[in-house]
């Protein structure tokens, strides 16, 4: 029997990190959801984040409330990164106590790393009537290569995992161990009532992997609140609206890159395209690269720095940026490029571009290609194909009307209210008959081999 219909909807949002600890896309997404929930009149919301560092750890309790917003923070203990098993005994005690205290109707996990997949089991045991929702981010359960479904070490796109296939990428791990990994994850994922995938692409991948299709729902993440036009924003000429600033004349086509600078984000594709255009003397097309490369492997960092030093005058590396400046910086370019050479899920940078009225040029695969409608809100080019990107950029530079059409496409795009959809999902789960899995099946169906 589900919980009584009276009273406010109690939601616990759980994130694998915390925006105060790490300001990444999924942290922000989970926190935005929490903030929106908290603002609802008939909803009680709580937030539990995680921290891998010792910064906020206290001896004794593993879950504390170090921030003024009253959110909870779990400081990690022993964790198995292969099976996402949380062996921290303090967590079992403290997480179960927290569940018993908050008694949420809905526990919404963003990701399963750091908390561990056994967390679903704890919820089931402590609160048999609560609904468990899990938002999927990377494809970590499917792929041991940081969930990217890109082969190791040659970086080819991968479409299907398997015990033997995965052991090819990781010769040090046996197929039998990949079998156990999947079985273990499956045993606990089977306890989840509803999986939320921010893209249809991601949903498809997880269904192909073995999640029951009827429990997977495609819902975009709840976006961060658009910053109100404060003093700084006014000075930068930013208005709190979607209307793009008029394109300054005579500047040519200004191309922006925003985000982590890494191999998988396609930095080499972008630099190669810039080089091609520089050689061709296209001085009317200029590149601005915004982002951080300092957390990448040393060889990549060195290569990147070398390439920047030798780059033509059409390219400027602007360095890392603070998230609150992204809107101003985006409005200073004409198009945003997302040249990733892995699938991507639902990159935040696409949402950011759109809200600033900027069309997106992206690789023609995965979540990127799904979020950018080719020829309407941006353009696709062949993944890992600098020549195709260069050609696309020349076409756009030569066709200002085409670019304007894309801007209109962005302005006119559909903007589904993902928060409302989340709320509807919760209410449906609370009201509906127990559609959740039968605990006694132990998840064998999910754990079976592919």
């Amino acid at each position: 029997m589900r919980s009584e219909m009276r009273g406010p909807l109690r939601c616990l949002v759980i994130s694998h990190s915390h925006p105060r600890v790490l300001h990444g896309g999924s942290e922000v997404a989970s926190y935005s959801l929490f903030e929106r929930l908290r603002a609802e009149p008939d909803v009680e919301a709580a937030y539990l984040g995680c921290s891998r560092g010792a910064m906020h750890a206290r001896s004794g309790p593993s879950i504390t409330q170090p921030f003024p917003d009253g959110s909870f923070l779990y400081s990690l203990g022993e964790f198995d990164w292969f099976r996402f098993a949380n062996r921290d005994m303090r967590f079992v005690r403290d997480f179960r106590a927290l569940l018993a205290e908050l008694r949420p109707d809905v526990v919404h996990f963003h990701h399963y790393i750091n908390v561990g997949v056994e967390a679903f089991h704890h919820v089931r045991e402590v609160l048999p009537d609560a609904s468990i929702v899990l938002t999927l981010h990377e494809m970590l359960a499917i792929c041991n290569q940081q969930g990217q479904m890109v082969t190791r070490p040659d970086g080819k796109l991968c479409t299907r995992s398997g015990n033997v296939e995965c052991a090819r990428c990781f010769p040090e791990v046996s197929p039998a161990d990949f079998f156990l990994r999947r079985a273990y994850l499956g045993r606990f994922l089977a306890l989840v009532d509803r999986f939320v995938a921010p893209s249809a692409f991601l949903a498809r991948r997880f269904v192909e992997w073995g999640l029951p299709e009827e429990r997977v729902e495609v819902l975009e993440n709840v976006p961060a609140a658009f910053p109100a036009p404060g003093k700084a924003a006014t000075l930068l000429g930013i208005a709190g609206s979607d209307v793009p600033a008029a394109r300054p004349g005579g500047n040519g086509l200004r191309v922006g890159f925003f985000g982590q600078i890494s191999e998988l984000k396609g930095m080499d594709v972008l630099l190669d395209a810039a080089k091609l255009l520089d050689r061709e003397g296209r001085t009317d097309i200029s590149f601005r690269i915004h982002g951080d490369h300092t957390t990448q492997p040393q060889p990549f960092q060195e290569r990147f720095r070398r390439r920047i030093a030798k780059a033509g005058s059409n390219l400027v590396f602007e360095g890392a940026y603070r998230n609150e400046h992204v809107d101003a910086l985006m409005r200073d370019v004409d198009v945003v490029v997302v040249p990733s050479v892995w699938w991507e899920n639902s990159p935040v940078v696409i949402q950011e571009s759109f809200r600033n009225g900027r069309p997106v040029l992206c690789s023609n695969i995965g979540g990127m290609a799904e979020k950018v409608v080719d020829g309407v809100t941006g353009r696709h080019f062949g993944v890992n194909n600098p020549r195709a990107l260069a050609t696309l950029l020349t076409d756009l530079a030569d066709d200002p009307a085409g670019l304007d059409a894309l801007r209109r496409g962005v302005a006119a795009r559909e903007r589904p209210d993902s928060f409302a959809a989340h709320l509807a999902l919760y209410r449906g789960l609370r009201a509906g008959p127990g559609t959740g899995p039968d605990v006694t099946t132990g998840g064998a169906a999910l754990a079976g081999t592919a």
Partner: protein, 605 residues
Amino acid sequence: MPTNPDIQGCIDVWGYAAATGSWLLGGWVPWTDGVPPQGFLTVSLRFAPEDGGDGGEVSGDALVVATSRADLFGRGVGILLHLPASGLRSGALLSATLHLPGDAAGPAPRMQSIPDTQRLSDRVLSDTLARSLPGQVGEWADRLSEVLARRGFEQQDTLDRLGDRCAFRIDEAIRCGENGVLLDGWLVAAPSGVRAVRLRCGLRSTRLSIGNAAAVGGMRVARPDVLDKYGRALGSHDVRCGFVLFEPHGFEPGCVPFFEIEATGGEVAYARLHWSRLRGLPAIRHALGHLSPRYNDVPRCFDLLGPAIEQLNLARLEPERGYREMMFGAAPAQPRCSVIVPLYGRVDYLEVQVAFLAGGGFAHRHELIYVVDDPEIADAAVHLADTVFRRFGVPIRLLLLDENHGFAPACNAGLGIAAGEAVCFLNSDVFGLEPDWLDRLLSRLDEAELVGPLLLFEDDTVQHGGMGFETVPELGGWWFPTHPGKGSRPDGAAGLSFHPAITGACMVMRRALALELDGFDENFVIGDFEDSDLCLRAAERGARCAVDAGVALYHLERKSQASHEHGWRMNLTLFNAWLHQRRWGARLDVLCDADPVPGALEAVS
């Protein structure tokens, strides 16, 4: 020629010389004309029964010198005789028989003791014989003269005396049981350089089957490293100059053992025996490390060395076995079934196994016993068991063994503390993904006494669906377990099928039966064949073994165990096979001939 067979010679003096480790005799045999018996002859000594027991015979190659004796008036020749052999005879010497070479006609010359001939000892004996020698000429007299003058072993290696004829080393002398020794070493000898190598201890003298003599009592081992170093200088090309041999009765209490190397010319050198420090598994591992027998070498090898391995294993398991038990949570007082899982090497399997047992009521009905058979993982196992219990709420009894004992002793230790009405022996790499697999197997115990599930590999092919047997010519033609259907897709048949045996990787039976059988036989070292043995012993009592194909578990059998690579692990499997063959060979000859397709004897749904 010996004359009338009724006329026998006489033994004048006899005794055992400890210095030379030989029987020395003086006397005469009837002999009228022709070349008298001399040189190396096979001689048999017959002794009176000792303390009412059997008498006995000692025979071997003796150095014989014929002397002329005026007191015999041409009817016989004097005989002096040196027979290197064990001196453990307390009864009186009755007679000595000289076996002439095959083409010599007539009865063997014989000397008899007259009733009051005293057994002389050592120096007196040698001196007495030595006094008979002057005046005798020839090679054999010279040799005997050398023997009689020989000083015994004086706690010193004197191998350098024979340095131009041989090089000898014992790498390990491993004690096996009370009086036994397993010797691993090598001997490189110049052609016809060495006559014999003996292990001597007190009055015992045991000729070892090494060197130029065919290695009847030991296994020869290729030692290119040794030949490289000594072969050229000694003119030897025999790469199989290494040996492993077992001497079960080499020692006398309180006496210092040593090696006596006798050159063909009769000269002798001594080498001390240094006991190996190896015990238990490392000793077994060493003993089996150099061998790679195949085909008909296999039975010979293990008939020779198997008893040594048995002794080493026995000594390994003999001491009081220490263990600690730790409880994580409280198991039910009267569990329906005790699941017993030995843990060795990898500990993390525990986490996955228990994760799948959680939530289905297992904790209320059954008990879970992990036997940590690996001190190196003990701390990790304790920690993991604690976090697993807290996460999944399944109580765990953790039995920590002080040493690695192997599959059978570990299972038996678990059986010793089990409280269940039934027991389930389960390998740590077997995973049931359905929560009720155990209950379903238990429900079959009315139809068969030993029940196992269908075991699958991670790719859903069959790992085990019942055990059959086949002979393997390469491995001595012994009976080995087979797993029909292994690696194939399951045939989809449901229900019980009966087999001669089932795997111990997952096996359910009533605890009373397991106790009646004394669990697994611990003579099988580490883990091989003990499951088949248990099933065959159970079958002798009328029990039936069955696989329930409707219950499928995954068995992630480690590849290292399946490989047929040479080396000690393979030889250990052969040792276990040898034990199994000795016990069940005849039974399986009948059983498996009657059923040409082993396995699937009968199927009921």
